[in-house]
Amino acid sequence: MLYISTKYQIIRKDFPFYLGKTAHGGLWVQIKNLPGHLPKESPSHVFLQEIMKWNGWGYSDSRFLFNKKGQAEFTGKRYIIIGMIIPGLKDWFECTFGASLQHKTPATPLLNSSAVQPPTLNEAFVEELKSTGIPFSQDAEDRVFRAHGHCLHEIFALREGKFGRVPDMVVWPNCHNDVVKIVELASKHNVCLIPYGGGTSVSSALECPPEETRSIVSLDTSQMNRILWVDEKNLTAHVEAGIVGQDLERLLNESGYCTGHEPDSMEFSSLGGWVATRASGMKKNIYGNIEDLVVHIKMVTPQGVIEKSCQGPRMSTGPDIHHFIMGSEGTLGVVTEVTMKIRPMPEYQKYGSVVFPNFEQGVACLREVARQRCAPASIRLMDNEQFKFGHALKPQVSSIFTSFLDGLKKFYITKFKGFDPNRLCVATLLFEGDREKVLQHEKQVYDIAAKFGGLAAGEDNGQRGYMLTFVIAYLRDLGMDYYVIGESFETSVPWDRVLDICRNVKARIVRECKERGVQFPPLSTCRVTQTYDAGACVYFYFAFNYRGLSDPVHVYEQVEHAAREEILANGGSLSHHHGVGKLRKEWMRETVSNVGMGMLKSVKDYVDPNNIFGNRNLL
């Protein structure tokens, strides 16, 4: 009995809408006010920046805090959990991290523009840019805003009011042709361009290379956010690459369609960013990952524009040039327009959850679901620690009856079924499609789960699991107010190694923390978030209380580094969908072999010989 009727809402001031329940209990996106296209005369960049935090995740007015009674609540008007008391969070927080509400580490409240380096400008470039009429800015705040992603070290530095190298100016192209002009000018005047989409990178991809001496220009694609056409015959949509996920879905929903691409960052991340990092969405089991969704890409490079001549659904024309673009992480050019597959909106959605006696059984069940190729739109398995975390986020129940029911459920699972509360884990499910099939599908999955000792645990638990995804980034900010820092990272791994990698990486994190003088045992937890025929995607969450450490970020980075080594040693990949950026590029060579590196380098050398796209990601 969680978020009452409307399960969760993502409400933005500019385009308010919410995800609500359908008559059938499913969930779809409803539009409250039809906003039409972006008002061009009031550039949304200014607007977005104003309503978003400059030194944390998401909207400025949306944040967790502990009220005077020490109870956690969420502020703002955008998410459904606003105003709800979360009584369990404080205890969980204090017990898990050994943190105390007495010990605060507040962030620097205001951006101090004078602490920002003055811009290094390429006058000739600026002059010519002015003549094109494309808007640009050298304002410190604009520049700082686009100088980072959301890695822990980036946010930590911002909270302390520290800025490293930031872009020297920001430009806002309005369309493909604007980008062509900017790239031409940058090439002509040897200016470094760093494409910027939603700014949700977690791979240090947006950091300006400190060794860069040229003028750095952040190319912000946010004004290129139109759906140019929808082709209902072929079920495709042609979209400008700057559009952010929630806008794309909302606009398509208006005409009864969706892309179904829902990465956890979809509130803020952009289509171009998805393409550039090889993004993956929660519902990839139905809709596919970005590489499955994309039909056509247009990218502007220093050598000119790259695109295919037609929109054939599959081609045998040598190596697919899209695969040079997808995952290029802004090193080759700017993605400007993308043709994507679209689908009619699902008639029915249903959440679900299954409790397993232990993680091993849960993984075995997911493996079987994958073997039978009957995975629902989304299926995720949380480990015991994360189950407890989710439990701590349960809002105060409204009636005695619900709390009684909860108690009964708990009694049934732990006492009657003999599940050990310190070992059990939970899988969350999301089914989508027409009603009949969803119900049929649901039965099939629950039947498999039963074979592995799984017990159906209701829709609410499932829904809370997915909710966690959207608020977890806000929770990190809360932790950072109280000496707790953390982050998540992911990998993909063959099925036969899933259990081993989960166990070993979690144990490695705990051991590394201990060895590096972290005073309290860290939170080290994981979940399996995607299933494939041949393996799974695993997410690790890791956070610790840094009281008593002189350089917590360094310790954090060392531990994350060790964890990544552990992942690789256990047969995991360098990244499933976050990308490489600069954070993980030291492992690229061993990941793709020397020849592979050479191939990528030679493409870069041909496409961008002067390193105009000089963010130095990947290679």
Binding site: R503, N504, L568
Partner: protein
């Protein structure tokens, strides 16, 4: 000094502080044996383990994907049905598997208390090591790695762990033990599992064994105990480790199936070894009696004698993860499915050697070892006829005691000096006796009484006593071997140049690699250590380029050199045999008696001064060393293990050894 130092227990070298050790027999002598056997046993097992019975373990092994895969493969290769191969695998597992039961541990506990109380004055166990083990067992799968010097120590670890509420181990044992009536079954139920000798290329056997071992480690079923040396050492010297078992045990870590594995080296040291005489005769070619229950009962007469004390020193638990950090790239397993056969990671080599080295360093040196060492350096006629002056022996022993302490040995010397030495001699009355201020070698009287003995028999008689002495000397060789190699290098090359000495040092290490334990690829560290130790006793001055002799340390230098002399002499005899007298192609069975004959002849003619050349152990080591140096090759086609010798190469090797 060497990076091995980091694994050493800190502050332990020197005279052993008896307070670290607790005599576990003390309590047994004051309370009921039955009470001990029936004590509440409440250990804290490995946290990651779900409890599982022996039957469940076997079932999991048979169902393991890897075994199924190998079964199928073998069925394909041999043309038999999968079902048949599976049955065969079942049979192997049945023969192999342990069936650990608490009831039998109690029975074992009761019996061993009786036996131990009779044999030993005390059994000392270091509590600190035991406490660390208790902790480690809860955190990761644990591998107990004791040395093996006597049959008595087979269940001693289980006995101690049972006494201190630590989960009892399953133990890898040789299959002959399983064949003993009753005893085999009792051992099985006390946790022993049995491995055939000479498995060779039996693919199915390997598969069952490795799956069984890995399953135990993966599940953290129980601590696993095995002898990294593979066998009981007949010479009381450490043996070159066997790698097969080590590899199987470590594989779950390399494959990431467990987060870590803890290795616990255990050093068991005896004042006096039960089998001393048996072993010496075995080395002289008298075959070892087959393990049988009757044999065991007959051997009960050894129970009448006093064997002094036994020390069980539990080493610091070592994390395989830490040991291998930066040395092994676990990614090499990434491209092979879990269920398929495994990659051989060659690094277990140094790990196994390292474990043996740590066992050596953890072992306690008895005063008797020092004395044996010195007795062996006296001319044989002095020992057999004139007798060695007690006064002289004790003075030298005290001198050696100081040297050993300087070199970091752990000495068990807990009473006034004269008492210690007198009681050592008293304890070893089977080897020496003291009469009128002199010490004589004891020689078996039995033969002599019946009839006059031949000269050759006389040699064997003396040799038995000498080899017994040698085995006690062997217990401390590891303390001196590195500086002794350098001392020998200095003596033979007459050089002062560091690099020349280093080259010769390496040659000696290579030649004696089956004789003494060196960690592969640690040559220069060993050399550095040798230099430092010689410098420490004032024997040499060391500069960047040179190692020059000093007048101060001649005594130490000549002692060290004399320590190795029997080995060098023995090796030369065998080189001589191979390069001059022997045939080109021979089997081991022909080689051993032939060399023994030659050595006997040379001893009688006064050309050879060491009886150690008669030891089959030395003889086999020479053969292995020459194979390693490729002067001898094993004929592949041959079924009887025939060897072919390259006489010129053997001669060259011999020449280097007396080069100048």
């Amino acid at each position: 000094m060497s990076d091995r130092a980091e694994y050493r227990d800190s502050g332990r070298a020197g005279l052993v502080d008896e307070r670290q050790f607790v005599d576990i027999l003390e309590e047994r002598r004051h309370s009921s044996d039955l009470g001990h056997a029936l004590r509440t046993f409440n250990p804290h097992p490995y946290q990651g383990a779900a409890p599982c019975s022996a039957a469940e373990l076997n079932k999991a092994v048979l169902e393991a994907q890897y075994l199924r895969y190998v079964t199928k493969e073998i069925a394909m290769e041999t043309g038999s049905s999968v079902e048949e191969v599976r049955k065969e695998a079942c049979g192997i597992l049945e023969e192999m598997s342990q069936n650990l039961q608490l009831g039998f541990i109690r029975l074992m506990g009761y019996t061993l208390t009786k036996v131990f109380k009779r044999l030993f004055t005390s059994i000392f166990v270091n509590m600190e090591g035991l406490n660390m083990l208790q902790q480690a067992i809860q955190e990761t799968p644990v591998i107990l790695m004791p040395n093996h010097r006597s049959y008595v120590d087979f269940l001693i670890i289980s006995y101690i762990l049972f006494t201190y509420d630590i989960p009892v181990p399953v133990i890898a044992a040789g299959i002959p033990l399983a064949g003993m009536k009753m005893v085999g079954e009792i051992l099985r139920r006390s946790g022993a599992f049995f491995i055939r000798r000479a498995i060779g290329s039996d693919k199915l056997y390997w598969a069952v064994l490795s799956e069984y071992v890995k399953a135990i480690v993966r599940k953290g079923y129980a601590p696993m105990e095995f002898y990294v040396e593979g066998l009981r050492s007949r010479t009381l010297k450490s043996l070159t480790p066997k790698l097969g078992m080590m590899h199987m045990v470590l594989e779950p870590y390399f494959k990431g199936e467990v987060f870590d594995i803890t290795l616990v080296p255990i050093s068991i040291s005896y004042d006096r070894v039960l089998e001393e005489s048996l072993l010496a005769h075995e080395l002289l070619g008298v075959p070892k009696p087959k393990e049988s229950t009757m044999g065991l009962l007959k051997a009960s007469k050894v129970l009448q004698e006093d064997y002094g004390t036994m020390h069980v020193n539990f080493g610091r638990p070592l994390s395989v993860r830490q040991l291998c950090h930066g040395k092994i790239n676990r990614c090499q397993y990434n491209l092979i499915p879990r269920s398929k056969s495994s990659l051989q990671i060659c690094t277990d080599l140094w790990l196994a050697h390292l474990m043996v080295r740590i066992q050596e360093e953890g072992s306690l040196i008895s005063p008797w070892s020092l004395m044996a060492c010195l007795l062996l350096q006296a001319p044989i006629t002095v020992l057999t006829e004139e007798g060695l002056l007690w006064q002289q022996l004790t003075e030298k022993t005290l001198w050696l005691r100081k040297l050993a302490l300087d070199y970091g040995a752990r000495l068990n010397w807990s009473a006034p000096d004269s008492d210690v030495m007198s009681s050592a001699v008293a304890l070893h009355c089977s080897i020496v006796h003291r009469k009128a201020g002199r010490v004589y070698l004891v020689q078996e009287e039995e033969l002599a009484r019946k009839r006059p003995i031949s000269l050759e028999e006389g040699v064997t008689r003396t040799a038995a006593a000498v080899l017994m002495l040698a085995s006690y000397r062997n217990q401390l060789l590891h303390v001196f071997v590195r500086p002794a190699l350098l001392a020998t290098a200095i003596h033979i090359t007459k050089s002062t140049q560091r690099n020349e000495l280093f080259t010769f040092f390496c040659f000696l290490q290579d030649l004696f690699s089956y004789e003494f334990i060196f960690i592969p690829d640690k040559l220069s560290q060993d050399f550095e250590e040798a230099c430092l130790l010689l410098k420490k006793c004032g024997a040499v001055h060391i500069s960047q380029q040179e190692v020059t002799l000093s007048d101060m340390g001649l005594e130490a230098l000549s002692f060290l050199q004399a320590l190795l002399q029997p080995f060098i002499d023995s090796y030369q005899v065998m080189f001589r045999y191979l390069s001059e007298e022997g045939v080109n192609v021979f089997t081991e069975k022909q080689f051993l008696p032939a060399v023994r004959n030659l050595a006997t002849k040379l001893i009688l003619s006064g050309e050879l001064h060491t009886y150690e050349a008669l030891s089959s152990d030395t003889q086999k080591n020479v053969l292995s060393a020459l194979r390693r140096l490729e002067a001898v090759t094993k004929l592949r086609a041959s079924e009887q293990n025939e060897y072919k010798v390259n006489k010129a190469a053997v001669r060259r090797t011999g020449d280097i050894l007396c080069k100048f």
